[in-house]
Subunit: 413 residues, 2 copies
């Protein structure tokens, strides 16, 4: 089953919108046994849209498209499919009724141009879109399938999950690729690669290493005719890798550092509080991104001013002696917020996001401090040269690493 993905829209072609839909779909095709060969973007241009559809129809069995299903003249996905198939769209009575109902329930009349959203072709059936007015199209003829979904990501994602993916799963059972990603921390990519060597020779699998913001990932992949068979190949490799890396593996697949840390906190019944300046709330936002954060996240302070730090219990003497951007102040912030919020662990972050230096400290310098229940305080410093956003992101990741070390008693004294 050869597949390709086409994202439709001038705004995507010109980069005014970043296309997240294609990645969302691409990630899930291998486990369905569908080989993705091409991904492309085409603007709202009738000739180029037609050309793109024609080439796709020739070379692919399954064509997944997103976008171009809106009500305006710019939205030409339906027209392009009709043209390729040489069929004529007609207004479907049931779709029309649903569409008019949608507008009526909101109390305003339906612009007549919207009637396009009730079109169907003889070879197409509508795919429900509970989050919007544009139904998808499942078009099928001569062994080719075109699945057209809306461009708005929440609409597309729900339609894919509820309708399209289950239907594809039911109908195709080619050779399935299953992958397992193990996430390590604290070891360089070259060393991970060397340590993992013994596993590379195991039968039926492939192993790759990937350097990521949250450490080096090891991905084991196996192809087999069923998912169960693929797992039979992966499991011994995973066990071997877990043996080799031990505690350096902190999670797998969709696990995030913040999610794993949250689990540990909740299991242990311990709590956390944060005091941030340079990251300005990003660390708190990262923890509270996880459902159930209220079970361990005691609170966060964004202290962009020295007075805010003092008010939360930071010792002015430490700031005066070492400067507000220093390891000592980071530790003092961690200690203070731990007490202030009555938490088991405290984290303090202070630094210079840039672009300009501050009090003689170079932009990109970030100090992170941690305070633990047994009275240990520790600090780390990073220097990031890749701009303001990268400084903040890297600082958050480093805070998560520091916290993991603390939870496993691996802090430098």
């Amino acid at each position: 089953m050869k597949a390709e993905i086409i994202a439709i829209g001038t705004e995507i072609l010109l980069g005014e919108i970043v296309d997240t839909n294609s990645a969302h779909l691409a990630r899930q095709l291998p486990e369905l046994g569908i080989d993705l060969y091409y991904k492309s973007v085409v603007g709202d241009n009738r000739a180029r849209l037609h050309e793109t559809f024609r080439r796709a129809w020739e070379r692919s069995d399954l064509i997944l498209t997103t976008g171009g299903l809106g009500p305006t003249d710019d939205d030409m996905t339906r027209e392009a499919i009709a043209e390729i198939l040489g069929e004529k769209p007609v207004v479907d009575a049931e779709l029309e009724q649903r569409l008019r109902g949608f507008f009526a329930s909101r109390g305003y009349p339906m612009p007549e141009s919207n009637i396009k959203q009730a079109w169907l072709l003889p070879s197409a059936r509508a795919i429900p879109n509970p989050r919007g007015t544009a139904p998808g199209w499942w078009t099928e003829r001569d062994g080719h399938i075109i699945v057209s979904m809306p461009g708005v990501p929440p609409e597309m994602e729900l339609m894919w999950a509820n309708e399209v993916r289950p239907e594809l799963e039911r109908r195709f059972s080619g050779e399935v690729l299953v992958t397992r990603t193990l996430k390590t921390l604290g070891i360089g990519e070259g060393t991970v690669d060397e340590m993992a060597r013994p596993v590379y020779a195991m039968p039926g699998i492939g192993v790759g290493t990937y350097a990521r913001a949250d450490g080096v990932h090891l991905r084991i992949g196996a192809k087999a005719s069923t998912r169960e068979e693929a797992w039979m190949l992966i499991r011994p490799a995973e066990e071997e890798l877990r043996q080799i890396f031990g505690n350096a593996i902190w999670g797998s697949d969709e696990d995030t550092l913040e999610g794993m840390l949250g689990d540990v906190f909740r299991e242990r019944g311990e709590t956390l509080a944060t005091m941030e300046s340079v990251t300005g709330g990003l660390l708190a936002a990262t923890f509270t991104d996880v459902p159930g954060a209220s079970g361990f996240f005691q609170g966060g302070l964004v202290t962009y001013q020295t007075e805010g730090k003092i008010a939360a219990g930071v010792d002015l003497g430490v700031i005066r002696e070492f400067g507000v951007v220093s390891q000592e102040t980071a530790k003092e912030m961690a200690r203070a917020v731990r007490v202030h919020a009555d938490a088991d662990y405290g984290i303090g972050i202070t630094g210079v996001a840039g672009p300009d230096p501050q009090e003689g400290v170079a932009p990109g310098t970030v100090h992170l401090g941690i305070a633990t229940p047994d009275g240990t305080e520790a600090a780390m410093t990073i220097v990031v040269n890749q701009g303001r956003a990268a400084v903040r992101r890297r600082a958050v990741t480093t805070a998560l690493l520091l916290l993991r070390r603390a939870l496993y008693g691996q802090l430098p004294q």
Copy 2:
């Protein structure tokens, strides 16, 4: 000048990484007078990479590639270019010296596989990469140009800005497309479209409307042989639109709501403080994303627990009477943090991110409160059905809107 962009890497094809590079480049091509016709993604597969390069070489004058410049066997961009051109790569002495120097300065030996990063072709010159070990390649022959840049976004972006874009600007002066985007707030897309109609007929320009998270955008575009000429066409249209929309236009082009609000605060010498639960620090992180936030952002509290709210001065009586997720509590949070942090404006956000309801309140419900220097308090409520991340994002945008209304005296009483 017909251009295409090719993003290279199996991780991008399979959606394990979202490709932001292509959008970054695509956004900047129109103003250089370069027409972008295709964007595609190809995996680390020699045959398909070759095929993609060959097709691009046939149909495009300028090919911009990102990725595949690393040191491993998987990185085949250089090999693919050499194959298309029928040239043989040789190690460039100067590049080799720089590469070995990079490793020496870090105190570890260079793996011999890295020597690929010192390769050059007769038709290629190296493009400096101050942020990494992989230089880019500028390859030129028979009227075609291939510009190969690294896949790591900060490396790619700096190389593009410092080296590639200026060189393209110097060499090409085709018909230039200049655009101006005006950002409106508080008016629906249909109404904006109708109000803007008189401008649509103005000569030499095109106008489009786009519904965005931060309001409806109006984009004026004009093509001319020089940038100045294009601006001559745009300016009268912009003036007319500003006349029509007045204060409803809050910014243009790259302006962000948080940036504009920051400017207003600094100009007026006023300050802001935030207390968030459901957004968990995202609002503070949004304000502090702007350089110079310390000039007005007095501080933020992430109060994920009721005790944290009480400690910051929220009246327990209000929470008991109306519930922690209520307009009254949101207003009380705004009032309390304004006093607590000694700021002119306070914002409070409380809600249910989901996936589960909380105290009988449906997930996706968010209340936002604001307190102003003249004692006004106001609140807004939104209900978002598109999942946890969308709830948090929409809540932040709504807080920015509420704040803008407050700053311009447009709050509901």
